[in-house]
Symmetry: C2
Subunit: 138 residues, 2 copies
Amino acid sequence: MCASCSSSFPAPGSKTDLEEGTVLTPRFNADGLVTCVTTDAASGELLMVAHMNAESLAKTLETGEAWYWSRSRGELWHKGATSGQIQTVVEMRIDCDQDALWLKVNVAGDGGCCHTGRRSCFYRKVDTTDGKASLVQA
Amino acid sequence: MCASCSSSFPAPGSKTDLEEGTVLTPRFNADGLVTCVTTDAASGELLMVAHMNAESLAKTLETGEAWYWSRSRGELWHKGATSGQIQTVVEMRIDCDQDALWLKVNVAGDGGCCHTGRRSCFYRKVDTTDGKASLVQA
């Protein structure tokens, strides 16, 4: 993680500042991450859930494209840099206690998002019709 | 966390099983949690991001209502039990690597979700029009 970037954002203030304030003070967890939910700006479909550290959030704000932190690879992840599935940020929101972000994006390339080739990572429903949970294609 | 509940779900299998299988094998993190994204089933609006442990997931599947794990209170959290804002699950999805859930819900009571009184926890946009990030009411 970029040492200088960890100080890119002011430290979180009081509960009132967090919830009602106008200053972006993300509450990064012990691993330096916030959760990021990404939806399709046009359809509203949930595409993926990922994580951002201070550096990826700063780069997302600077470039207008989604940068995440890949926990599996332990590196900054410019989504679409190799696949062409660049995510252009149409709107970014933050939640009440500033530990989760919501990106509404337009996806370039073939419009996909999931590494399995699907448009969304959430391609399976949890079915409980037989009283037992199983996964079915959505 | 309910010790017996941690064995409610089979252990995650291979990458192929996780991504293409029909067995629900959530990948709980080191704290025993998966991320849960909750949207309004009718409008598609993102309402909240929370966490579930095995017990809350099992209770959600059993009851058809959203149960989370409150990290701040360290306890099982039947959403709406005190506020009346019960979330009835219309559909549950899981992501490719089974470490994130998506609930589409109908909200009872006054239809709210956020503890600040708003309908959604994501009531502020991150604005960068002046080249500096600030938060504005959405």
